[in-house]
């Protein structure tokens, strides 16, 4: 199976007045196969969205980026002119559809602008078919509507339609269901899965919600403080998590089955992005901490999973 996107050693620093203030991404390695979904899961501030921003080539000028992002047959796109790739071959949907649409233009006007930019012929028919394909039953009304006139679920569908107008190779979905009710969110996830089956795009699915990621992804990457600490096939990672952080995250999911008061509560907090991290970023919160953790742990292969942890390594 061919690789659509390969990220190697991606690091991002922020620099103000020539001084590096922090390094929110500290070496991200990821790979997405054609037609498959890679889910990135992690807590606030771990670098999920920043990774997506880097792929789209939308980092602010204060960011210094190192490493490679290889995309399809374009090779390394970190230095390429992203204008032709972004929004056509790689598209993105966001957490908050309200702010992804411009409130003063109708949905139709905004979709038309995208369609024109992508050189789509017969725009009205294409837009109607596209909106129908995402389960919006009354395309005419949706096209005439302004963003505030549609429900969150409908807007999210309209945004998916916009992202798929150009038949992208890769769709980046950044917390696409976080702002929706659970049942509506589930419908949107099923919709995306059905569209993916039909149209064959690869997907990078980003969420803090482990359950949502597990539902949608073929492979999972767990990010902690700007580094991938564990990757592997979703079923394997969910069944036998190897990294102590992944184990903690899965143990922290409450349920009727777990006795009250006994959730795995990882002590402390996710380190602030301003912290200068040496060695394993999770060491301070880890019950398996040892001397070696002061050094950066290497990534080792355990079965189909890759894990960055000294304790697993030894």
């Amino acid at each position: 199976m061919s690789t659509v996107l390969k990220i190697s050693h991606l690091e991002v620093d922020f620099e103000i007045n020539g001084v590096i203030t922090n390094t929110p991404l500290r070496g991200i390695n990821l790979e997405i196969k054609a037609g498959k979904t890679l889910g990135i899961v992690g807590e606030t501030g771990c670098g999920k969205t920043l990774t997506a921003t880097a792929i789209m080539g939308l980092l602010p000028s204060s960011a210094i980026q190192r490493g490679e992002i290889e995309f399809g047959n374009h090779g390394d796109i970190t230095k390429a002119d992203m204008a032709d790739i972004r929004g056509s071959e790689i598209t993105m949907i966001f957490q908050n559809p309200q702010s992804a649409f411009n409130p003063i233009f109708s949905i139709g006007a905004q979709l038309t602008m995208v369609a024109q930019r992508r050189g789509i012929s017969d725009i009205p028919a294409t837009l109607t078919a596209r909106l129908e394909s995402v389960g919006l039953r009354d395309p005419k009304r949706v096209l005439e509507s302004y963003p505030h006139q549609l429900s969150g679920g409908m807007l999210q569908r309209a945004m998916i339609a916009m992202a798929l107008l150009s038949s992208p190779t890769l769709l980046i979905a950044d917390e696409p269901t976080t702002a929706l009710d659970a049942t509506i969110g589930d419908h949107v996830l099923t919709l995306i899965a059905a569209l993916q089956k039909r149209e064959g795009f690869a997907m990078l699915f980003i969420s803090h919600d482990v359950t949502a990621v597990a539902k949608t992804s073929d492979e999972i990457a767990v990010i902690y403080a700007g580094r991938v600490v564990e990757t592997g096939p979703t079923s394997e990672v969910m069944k036998s998590p190897q990294h102590p952080y992944t184990q903690g995250l899965l143990g922290a999911i409450p349920s009727a089955e777990k006795a009250r008061g006994t959730l795995v509560a990882i002590p402390g907090n996710v380190p602030s992005v301003l912290t200068n991290i040496k060695g394993c970023a999770f060491a301070d919160r880890c019950s398996l901490q040892m001397d070696k953790c002061a050094q950066e742990p290497p990534t080792v292969q355990i079965g189909k999973q890759s894990v960055a942890c000294w304790a697993v390594n030894s």
Binding site: E43, Q196, R198, T211, P254
Partner: protein
């Protein structure tokens, strides 16, 4: 059970709306007791009314009617002082921890404030604040900090300490962990449980997150549209959910894969989504609504919810039985008036749903019109109109035989066998993945069908017979099937919304089960039948055909055991099922629980969609029959 510490009785909250006299009823007469030391969890989605209920119950918002008693004393109609004393028994923790602490106050001041208001002296306050800090797991070094210097988890710990400052008995937890990361949420949930045990607290917990609610609560109430649709112990609700919404929530939180699969979309649970969304994964064509839709008078009959229905040694109320058969929607029209209407599983009056084989009954009506207009002669063999079917079973079988399912054909309608002709038909129609290299489209599949005996003698249900008829009529008229339905059925009957029909890879309509429409429009179609083929004062389909359909198949036709077991004396005619029951009902039925039920005696029409986990079984069929008959008997 331990003593009742809070009694919420008949709480209703109505918010006025500008253009409505009745206003919006956010909470609809909810009553529930909280027992000492228990955690009652209310789970619901945004807009379900859970926060409004809590605000009314805790005296933050004045309910429109009803009220709360706390430790036996009513919150309403007390003096300010008495109210304040009573409220000292209540604590509050809200979702946004930073927002519930004054940003200009230090942690110390935030926790001390309620104690000062309660009139405690400063030395005691000091002791109490330090005690609380310790209990919520904060170091005393953090006392001088302000909220912006704390993490979300620390803020929530401060909010909890403040809520517990005056030693309340009952604490409202309104989405207490919704803005926290998973690992921090676990810390707070553990802390809340520890505090509850140590201080003998009673919690009223509200959350959209079923995992959080079911983890912490002794009892769970599931709230939707202002009412509790289900209340029970956590185990009862999670293990044996009764209401479809509860089941849907549990499924969503179960982590069941959202992976869409073209080979399993018709089965549960994927069908709960797929039946409302076929146009997102299969090609469809529009059956257009009428420019002048038939308006339905609505006079809801509240008595229907109270009827009881006996079936299979159990007694159900109507809502219970609807839940039991995985209902997605139901519309009941009695004597032209819509008297009952319910939607579940995300459906609304605007939602369309796949009809499955109820689509066949619509085709039957179209053929009645086509035959009357002389477009076709139903006694002619099918191959007379479709010469390319010479050599197949359809060379000799007539249109009438295909309409009545008396074609003797080598065809297994087994929905579970991937080798059956039914599975081949699904692959040909594009309803399943097809990697076989043959059956590429309905036409090539239908050509391969062979005869198994003499036609017209015995009833044999075969879906392919309907696909061949959808093909035939569009070939003869040189008009797409969906356009024929639009022109001769959908618009004349006054459909309010567009419907659609699934087409195969060649654009040929799937006649056997591809139509999706709204529940009300399916009821309008039933109405057309019960009114003898008339709608809007026009004869849309011939009355003679409607009468012939009610009369059923000729007694000479050999029936099938399963049909006789369910409907003694019943038969299949013109793509409708005839019950031969006392009320002479006829109906259209589709797999996984789709129905249009027409009872001429009580002039009742029922349109009903479901997403049952399996295609057909006698138990669910019997439940549906009992349900329809009980409604019609009212």
């Amino acid at each position: 059970m331990s003593e009742v510490v809070m009694q919420i009785s008949q709480v209703t909250k109505v918010f006025p709306l500008r253009d409505s006299k009745v206003g919006f009823k956010a909470v609809d007469s909810i009553s529930i007791d909280l027992h000492k030391g228990e955690v009652l969890g209310v789970v619901g989605e945004s807009g379900s009314g859970k926060s409004t209920l809590a605000r009314c119950a805790f005296g933050i918002t004045e309910p429109t009617s009803g009220g709360t008693t706390i430790l036996g004393e009513s919150l309403v109609g007390k003096s300010r002082k008495a109210t304040r004393e009573l409220r000292a028994n209540l604590g509050f923790v809200f979702q946004d921890p930073a927002g519930s602490i004054n940003p200009r106050m230090s942690v110390y001041d935030a926790i001390a404030e309620p104690l000062m208001l309660a009139g405690m002296d400063s030395a005691s306050i000091d002791t109490r604040v330090n005690f609380l800090m310790d209990r919520v797991g904060l170091a005393s070094s953090q006392l001088s900090r302000k909220s912006h210097e704390l993490s979300g988890g620390q803020c929530q710990r401060v909010a909890i300490a403040r809520a517990l400052a005056t030693n309340p008995k009952i604490v409202l937890l309104d989405e207490p962990t919704s803005s926290l990361d998973l690992s921090v949420q676990a810390q707070i949930l553990n802390l809340l449980e520890e505090l509850r045990r140590d201080f003998d607290l009673t919690y009223f917990l509200i959350s959209h997150n079923l995992d959080v609610v079911s983890h912490l609560s002794d009892r769970v109430a599931v709230m939707k549209d202002g009412v509790f649709v289900e209340v029970g112990t956590t185990r009862q609700v999670i293990d044996t959910p009764k209401h479809p919404f509860t089941r849907e929530l549990i499924r969503v939180y179960s982590g069941a894969s959202c992976e869409f699969d073209l080979d399993t979309w018709q089965d549960g649970p994927l069908n709960r989504w797929a039946f409302q969304n076929v146009s997102t994964f299969l090609p469809t064509k529009v059956i257009a609504a009428s420019p002048e839709p038939l308006s339905l008078d609505i006079e809801l009959d509240a008595n229907l919810d109270a009827i009881t229905i006996d079936v299979a040694d159990s007694t159900y109320t109507l809502p219970e039985l609807l839940a039991d058969v995985d209902t997605d929607s139901i519309v009941v029209v009695r004597k032209g008036v819509l008297v009952y209407e319910k939607y579940f599983n995300g459906m609304t009056p605007d939602s369309v749903h796949l009809l499955q084989s109820v689509s066949k009954s619509i085709l039957g009506a179209l053929y009645a019109v086509m035959a009357e207009r002389g477009v076709i002669d139903i006694d002619k063999p099918i191959a007379f109109y479709l010469p390319e079917l010479v050599g197949s079973v359809y060379e000799a079988a007539t249109i009438a035989q295909a309409l009545d399912m008396t074609v003797a054909i080598n065809f297994s309608e087994d929905y579970s066998d991937p080798q059956s002709e039914m599975a081949r038909l699904d692959r040909a129609a594009g309803w399943r993945t097809n990697t076989t290299g043959h059956d590429l489209g309905l036409r090539s599949f239908l050509r391969t069908m062979t005869a198994s005996g003499e036609h017209g003698k015995a009833y044999q249900y075969c879906s392919a017979n309907t696909d061949v008829l959808a093909w035939l009529i569009s070939e003869v008229t040189q008009t797409p099937y969906q356009d024929l339905l639009t022109r001769y059925i959908w618009q004349p009957m006054g459909a309010h919304d567009d419907a659609s029909v699934i087409v195969d890879r060649e654009g040929l309509s799937v006649g056997n089960g591809g139509i999706s429409c709204t529940t009300r429009d399916l009821a309008r179609f039933g109405l057309l039948i019960v009114n003898g083929g008339r709608a809007n004062g026009e004869q849309v389909i011939p009355a003679a055909w409607v009468n012939a359909t009610f009369a059923g198949a000729s007694a000479d036709v050999e029936s099938a055991d399963y049909l006789q077991a369910l409907h003694p004396g019943g038969s299949y005619k013109n793509k409708w099922w005839i019950t031969a029951g006392a009320s002479r009902e006829i109906f259209g039925v589709g797999i996984y629980g789709q129905y249009v039920w027409v009872d001429p005696t009580s002039e009742t029409v029922i349109a009903k969609f479901s997403s049952l986990p399996i295609p057909v079984d006698g138990v669910h069929s019997r439940k549906h029959m009992a349900l329809f008959r009980a409604i019609c008997a009212q």
